[in-house]
Amino acid sequence: MTVVATHPTAIAGGGGVGGSHVATGDLDLTHGVVLYLEGISVSFDGFKALNDLTLSIDAGELRCVIGPNGAGKTTMMDVITGKTRPDAGRAFFGQTIDLSRLSEAQIAHAGIGRKFQKPTIFERHSVFENLELAMKADKRVRKTLFAKLSSSEKQSIDETLNLIRLQDSANRAAGLLSHGQKQWLEIGMLLMQQPRLLLLDEPVAGMSDEETERTAELFLSLAGKHSLVVVEHDMAFVEKIARKVTVLHEGGVLAEGDMNQVKNDPRVIEVYLGR
């Protein structure tokens, strides 16, 4: 059954059409931490997908998260973006925003953008429209009904089209793009949201070597201004971009450090790299 009952208490007060954007305030980065997960546990039918996971991401950091299948990488993203509620533990965005109280839309609005493992774009909309819909704006019903594209908004869409090299496909249906182009479009959509934190689930899966190379450059250029968490299986890609790597295993952090440290950690070799 597709009935999910885990739905947030925070929007209860925001009844009425489009009235649910709670004031999340500005992101408070006074201690230099953009994301802080503390003791997060999630279980599905007795299986512990996350087990007392504690993790913190610094502002402006580019963090790679690796781990074997079932280590809890995607569940961790689900918890951060409000798709799954943790059974225990706390998740904070900056110093003040408690993610466990917000809906998916509110979390996106607060400044967390997410790229899915399988590229998820609006296949029947044009590439331009995909970016338009993702664009940072007042996304309540009333405003959307009367929304008109301003010239500065159009310009920012054009800039993103150039960045993701889809300027020639702007009016094509997004479903007609190649797999790698879809990945880029989804990354472009994230950038249009102007998020403070980007969560990227296997961003280079299905990309050609050249596309992977360019993606690495893009991510490195984004770090600093944005914070990025990249979940990836492609070790060559991780080595290229990694500054700090977190290894997840059985729902918890197994090791953390720079690529060399992690690569030489015997526990990591046993569960992951050695295979």
């Binding site: 059954m1 597709t2 009935v3 999910v4 009952a5 739905h7 929007i11 009844g15 059409v17 489009g18 009235g19 649910s20 954007h21 973006t81 798709k83 809906s103 998916e104 839309a105 509110q106 996106a108 609005h109 953008g113 997410r114 899915f116 998820t120 774009i121 609006f122 296949e123 029947r124 909309h125 044009s126 429209e129 338009e132 819909l133 993702a134 940072k136 996304k139 309540r140 019903v141 959307t144 009904l145 009367f146 929304a147 249906a173 959509m189 949201q193």
Partner: protein, 355 residues
Amino acid sequence: MNPRLSRLYGVRGWTILAAFSLLVLVVLPLLHPQHVSTYWVTLLGKIMCYAIVAVAMDLIWGYAGILSLGHGLFFALGGYAFGMYLMRQIGSDGQYRQPMPDFMVFLDWKEFPWHWWNSDSFWWAATLVIVVPGLLAYVFGYFAFRSRVKGVYFSIITQALTFAAMLAFFRNAMGFGGNNGFTDFRRILDIPIATPQARMTLCAITAATLIGTLLLGRWLVTSKFGRVLAAIRDAEARVMFCGYDTMHYKLFVWTLSAILCGIAGALYVPQVGIINPSEMSPANSIEIAIWVAVGGRGTLAGAALGAGLVNGAKSFFTQVFPEYWLFFLGAIFIVVTLFLPQGVLGLIDRFKARS
């Protein structure tokens, strides 16, 4: 623009819409009643009421991907809300020559139930036509969408809702005339409704409402709001992670759709002359989905066309071969599902692409 959007919205679409308006609002009144009989005018008015419902259905099904199998309920509620006023307009001309509606006299009621308060006011009735379906849809939709009930589960619940309402309206104690419903209408605003002029006026008002509904729908689906709706239909999770609270989008279009159905029901009742609980039967609501599927989902104009085609065929069949109509309806549905996933408009496009 999305190629599928260019249909009602290009030069050709505007031309057809203008031609239709001219035909029904100018040419038909000139030909009526000398050259076109009142029978045809009433039939056209009735079918246009269905077309409004079909466009309302297309807004939620074709664009937002929400299949309602209970839209007949909102249509019937609008009809009943206006029917109460029509019953009061009968005055003392009923079978019993009493100021109360006949069914109340028959049940030996001495005063009106509470929900008949102010029912002799046209404007109160017009308000109820909008508020009752709208409020029910809003409350139902709020709980359904908040709990993220989707797909076939949502369809089944809407089906159950209209069935439950039908059973309730069958009861005499509800104060809506039980299984006979309301009939024997005489006047609107003290003007007799059985005259050819009154029929033509009702038909023209219905046509204007249909045109207004199409224009409103067009404005909605070509706005950014419409693009968000279609995005919800195709990838709802992505829309949420883009920062849209999809519940409010669905709730808005769902409630609007119900209100349009209520207005259509209010226009339908004086033209057809009867409203009873069978309008809430599950089969009626399923038929609405068939109209939209036949015309072509996600095109608005196609939905109106589908309502016209299926109901035109229904009028023909139920006169010529009454016992075969349901078989024919079933056959249409199978043929459309198997061979015309884009409906009749999709078929026209395919022929065009070939030539």
